[in-house]
Symmetry: C2
Subunit: 203 residues, 2 copies
């Protein structure tokens, strides 16, 4: 039974990345998952909204793990950010430009119309921002700076996906990644310079 | 008759910003515009897709004009970018967080499913990037650098809207705007420094 639930989640995730929440029917989900409608309602008795909430939460968590893998590969947060954008660009190219982000389209569609789904998407975005923020803080930024910069990186990632999908060319994701890497490097450099000035002043 | 068409475009724009393309019905459009269904089909014989294409193209053009107003207020592209983000943050707060961008949600929804609408959104995003790129080029960046940086700014703007709407707090747009301003300022500074080195070397 767990395998059926997994198939339903995976199929919904891919359909959302292709056509969004309102553009996906439960019929498409059961067809793509090879699961009967009864089993969909067995796992998600409240139907589409409950399924969508599970997809947002669970695929959001798996993307967090993916970013942590990139971050674990280096102690240099700028390099990790750049590599993550490059990886996303490759995924876009290989997947015929369906959304890399499992929740971005859905988040925009539901923000004013399904408060529960909005909340689920908010928790996922916040978990990504917190994760990157911790790496930036460990590398030398103050907490507030680190969180704000992490949010900008996630925003730029999300926005670059829409530009890449719309023009069917992922280079914009790579270039945005280079800019984010520069921004991260510059902020870390500034923080280190400030720290050295303070050491020099005996603070 | 032109007034009816304008009302239909404006109502559709607001409905798209609230619920997206697939989340908006033609019935909602005619209700919100106070227009009979017949007049919608009079102006848009091919129905929803044709209406959506007009909304994308026409509201895209009006946002381009809006950005040009910000750019015309100063010769400092970094300041214009920062002010534009600040203005967008205020609009989000005043509009109960419906999307500031008239085409971002729709672009994500249709990128894999309606190629004609994808193309229309692509032309709008490209027009914004080209406009900002020209200002950056006039301020000293090489054409390729200017275009890439302009695309990053548009991406960050788009992405910050989804974060702000999802958390119902527009500060993330302001912080992202500050980072974009820093990035623009840094790239212009680097370009000027390189130019001065070249002058110093007699090039």
């Amino acid at each position: 039974m767990a395998a059926t639930r997994d198939r339903i989640i995976a199929a919904t995730n891919e359909l959302f990345r292709r056509g969004g929440y309102n553009g996906t029917s439960l019929r498409q989900v059961t067809d793509a998952a090879g699961a009967p409608t009864g089993s969909l309602y067995h796992f998600f008795p409240r139907g589409k909204a409950e399924l969508a909430e599970a997809v947002i939460t669970e695929t959001g968590a798996s993307y967090l793990e993916l970013f942590e893998l990139f971050a674990a590969a280096t102690s240099d947060p700028g390099a990790a950010v750049g590599a993550f954008f490059d990886g996303a660009a490759e995924t876009l190219e290989q997947s015929d430009y369906i959304d890399v982000c499992p929740i971005g389209t859905v988040a925009r569609e539901v923000a004013n119309t399904h408060d529960r789904l909005r909340g689920a998407a908010d928790r996922v975005f916040s978990s990504w921002i917190e994760s990157l923020g911790k790496h930036l803080e460990a590398a030398g930024l103050a907490t507030t700076e680190a969180t704000a910069l992490a949010a900008t990186v996630v925003a730029a990632l999300e926005g670059s996906f829409v530009l890449a999908r719309t023009r069917r060319n992922a280079d914009v994701v790579r270039h945005t990644g280079n800019h984010m890497r520069s921004l991260v490097d510059a902020q870390l450099r500034d923080a280190h310079n400030r720290a050295q000035v303070n050491v020099g002043r005996g603070r």
